[in-house]
């Protein structure tokens, strides 16, 4: 059962990713990205981490896709329905394939003996996050605040006097 789900969700995730980089229409690319992100959330469920699957669906499926669609609609360029790749795409294809073969060879050669997945209790995760990782947590909130202020400052329309 878990094997079947894994194959199905992996094909969906990688297929969605290929759709993002292959389609000519920007809005279609955004919807393919949503598809791929939801499939990755399904893979998190296969990995027994339901909490991170929920976080993935809320933040990526909810927030980031909506913000990307907003940006597409606000920068409505004439070439969006049929955007072309740049002329170095064969080089990009070669480097993508080379990276994939290198990583796959590494993972297969150094294949680990772990076969059992562990479920981590959400309370343990929360306790660790707020004790051992308290300082990085506060820094992350600062990063979010700065990104918020920075994006407002950058995107603001200044009026000429």
């Amino acid at each position: 059962m878990s094997w079947f789900l894994f194959i199905l969700l992996s094909v969906m995730a990688i297929g969605g990713g290929l759709g993002v980089v292959a389609t000519r229409n920007v809005v279609h690319a955004c919807l393919f990205l949503l598809f791929s992100l939801l499939a990755v959330a399904g893979l998190y469920v296969v990995l027994l981490t339901e909490f991170l699957a929920l976080v993935q669906i809320f933040i990526y499926g909810g927030a980031i896709i909506i913000v990307l669609l907003f940006a597409i609609m606000l920068t409505r360029s004439k070439e969006y329905p049929s955007i072309s790749d740049n002329s170095q795409w064969p080089l990009a294809l070669v480097s993508g394939l080379a990276l994939f073969s290198l990583l796959t060879a590494t993972f297969v050669v150094n294949s680990s003996s772990f076969e059992e997945m562990h479920r981590v209790a959400l309370t343990d995760l929360g306790t660790t996050l707020f004790t051992d990782w308290a300082l990085p947590f506060e820094i992350a909130s600062l990063v979010l605040l700065l990104a918020l202020i920075g994006s407002i400052v950058i995107a603001k329309v200044e009026r000429r006097r």
């Binding site: 990713g17 690319a29 993935q56 795409w89 680990s112 059992e116």
Partner: protein
């Protein structure tokens, strides 16, 4: 039986697809989407390793949460820059944004 290696291979495939997208696309928004794919591949790798190894340590899960946080901040900032670029230059094609090209 699904092992750690299979998740790592899926994550490698997603990362390579994202790399191709970053190198081959011309629109800034599409490059951002490819970066999101790469961040997701990294997250999948982190969570798979954390889930298959020691159950007493959660560093992988927590780093994945931080990656999602930083990814959200990055998208917000980058899209503000894209909007600004579009307002000033009326294009989001990065081949035409060559002000800082040396």
């Amino acid at each position: 039986m699904v092992t750690l290696m299979h998740f790592q291979i899926v994550s490698a495939a997603l990362f390579s697809v994202g790399l191709y997208g970053v190198l081959a696309r011309r629109s800034a928004v599409l490059i951002l989407m490819s970066i999101e794919l790469m961040l997701n591949a990294v997250n999948l790798n982190l969570i798979a390793i954390a889930s298959f190894t020691d159950p007493e340590r959660f560093a992988g899960f927590i780093i994945a949460i931080f990656v999602i946080t930083v990814g959200a901040a990055e998208v917000g900032l980058a899209l503000a820059i894209v909007l600004r670029m579009f307002r000033n230059r009326a294009t989001v094609n990065i081949d035409e944004i060559e002000l800082m090209k040396w």
